[in-house]
Amino acid sequence: MMQSFTNIMYVCQQSEFIFMQNTALDYLPIVLTFIVAAGFVVLVMFVTHWLGPKRRSKIKDDVFECGIEAQGNARIPFSIKYFLVAILFVLFDVEVIFMYPWAVNFKDLGVRGFIEMGLFIAFFLVGFYYIMKKGALKWE
């Protein structure tokens, strides 16, 4: 009995939500949110088609590209380099996101946090150096 009591105490310390008695019913609001979100999209699409007047002309149906007249086909092969740069951008972008929580807790994390973050930045600088030397950013 004593053993199981201490066990429960440990659980209580580790997880404060344990006695909230979560049931599947508690997640009903989330399901409702999903339904409302999806319903809103469907409703708006339907309403715009229904309410909006339809006036077509050749110039109106043209592709709008910042006021410049569109030239040629949009579906042409383009250099794969663009894809590579985009992927690398996403990678480094995600890494930069980790700096936000650090910036918010900068004082609390102290010197240790600073060292850890420095190590993290050093790691991704190594990655940056690597892709530069590998020629991933050369646009030729």
Partner: protein, 465 residues
């Protein structure tokens, strides 16, 4: 814990090796680094230190599995030297393998569900790339894509399971979840509130995700194609290190967390194990390609190891560890021989091995020992692996499942012996010129010795846990 730092640093060093032009010294550096990693994990023996707010526990369980992983990786780097030696992007492959090894280490030492997920991802993403590392081969590209798509789905299942368990228990910490699920009072409270639905579906979802990683039967469809399509050394890596890490993770999760709720998942694993053993072995009989046969045999070995998880007694950890070690050593040996033979044939069939014993006794002997160990013939390591697993399953009363497993092993003997008979038959011998590098010879000798030594002194490993 220093082991993880060493492995990460090795990965970074391998990545930069080409840029700073010390590519030639990379293999020695990696091998010395791996030895350092093994030494540093031996030094942590019996310390049981927790890291990062109980995110990781480097206990004896983790240390033993880390040592098995590092030794296998050591052999792997020696056997694969020739394969990656000719390519310009060798350093990248080395770096990917070392990062995958870091992921495998996380998977054996996690004590938090988040770390389990991170470990699986760090292990899997390099594997997706490595499976497609033979860029000119269509099969390799297909393997990579297939592995990636299926792996992504399986990870989705695993993650969904983790969320559900978090929803039910309010924690990611393995120990707290385990204690919660073991206390009847709390379960009773939940039953009343109807909260067990979340928990049970969470457990089954995690089971699906992990069964994919170990390629247990209804989730095994990716394995034969990926194993066949990927370059042979990469297949060797997948069949040994990935499988060992996945089993260590599986066992740790179910022993610390879900052992209190056996009635929820034990029947499922019973059926999975039976199907895996039977289907893996029976399909392996019909394969002509040796690589595909080894893929199916690796599926069936996953079935045997599932028995130990099902047994859930104090012998199961030791038996899984021993089985993983014996299986990894024998598989590395078999794949080393296969990769040497494959220099002559694109897809080595069983017939390509005919008359090998006359042409090259060392190769034939190493392959024979590996096959006998995989088949479970005494006194080799594989026999004692099976013996420990079957006894631990029998102690927990799974008589019928053990009978199925023994039947599966008997079927296994057929296709393993077919290889041996082919090698010793006086066939015409299609193999013309065989070149074995010194490193590969060393690997073959080490695998032979380890298979025999582990078989003669199984207590060395078993008594550690």
């Amino acid at each position: 814990m220093k082991t993880l730092y060493i492995l990460t640093a090795l990965g970074v060093i391998a990545m930069l090796a080409e840029l700073f032009r010390f590519k030639k010294f990379l293999l020695p550096i990696v091998l010395i680094g791996l030895m350092g990693a093994i030494a540093s994990s031996v030094r942590d023996w019996n310390t049981n230190i927790h890291y990062y707010n109980y995110m990781m526990t480097f206990d004896n369980y983790a240390i033993l599995f880390t040592i098995v992983l590092c030794v296998t990786a050591f052999l792997w780097f020696m056997m694969s030297k020739d394969f990656f030696g000719s390519e310009s992007s060798k350093t990248d492959h080395y770096a990917l393998v070392l990062f995958a090894l870091c992921g495998a280490m996380l998977m054996v030492s996690y004590s938090n569900m988040v770390m389990l997920f991170l470990g699986i991802e760090i292990l899997s993403i390099p594997m997706y790339v490595l499976a497609g590392s033979n860029k000119d081969s269509l099969a390799s590209n297909e393997a990579s894509l297939k592995y990636f798509l299926m792996g992504a789905f399986a990870t989705g299942f695993l993650l969904f399971g983790i969320t559900m368990i978090y929803g039910a228990t309010g924690t990611f910490d393995l120990r707290s979840i385990g204690i919660t699920l073991k206390s009847p009072e709390l379960i009773q409270v939940w039953r009343g509130a109807g909260g067990t639905t979340l928990l049970y579906s969470g457990i089954l979802m995690m089971l699906i995700g992990l069964c994919f990683k170990i390629s247990a039967v209804p989730f095994h469809f990716w394995a034969p194609d990926v194993y066949t399509g990927a370059p042979t050394p990469v297949t060797a890596f997948m069949a040994t290190i990935v499988k060992t890490a996945a089993f260590a993770a599986f066992l740790r999760l179910f022993i610390t967390c879900f052992s209190g709720l056996g009635n929820v998942w034990m029947n499922t694993i019973w059926v999975l194990a039976g199907l895996t053993i039977l289907l893996g072995n029976i399909t392996a009989v019909y394969q002509t390609s040796v690589k595909r046969m080894l893929a199916y045999s690796s599926i069936s070995h996953a079935g045997y190891m599932l028995l130990a998880i099902l047994a859930m007694n104090n012998h199961s950890v030791g038996s899984v560890l021993f089985y993983a070690a014996a299986y990894s050593v024998a598989t590395i040996g078999a794949f080393t021989v296969l990769s040497i033979i494959e220099k002559n044939f694109e897809l080595a069939s069983v017939d390509s091995f005919s008359g090998l014993a006359k042409k090259n006794p060392l190769l034939a002997f190493a392959m024979t020992i590996s096959m006998l160990s995989l088949a479970g013939i005494p006194p080799l390591a594989g026999f004692f692996g099976k013996y420990y697993i079957f006894t631990s399953a029998l102690q927990s009363g799974y008589v019928w499942l053990v009978l199925i497993a023994v039947l599966g092993s008997l079927i296994g003997v057929y296709y393993y012996f077919r290889m041996i008979i082919k090698m010793f038959s006086s066939g015409t011998g299609e193999v013309t010129n065989i070149e074995i590098s010194t490193l590969q010879k060393i690997v073959l000798v080490i695998t032979i010795l380890l298979s025999i030594l582990l078989g003669i002194f199984p207590d060395m490993v078993i008594s550690l846990l």
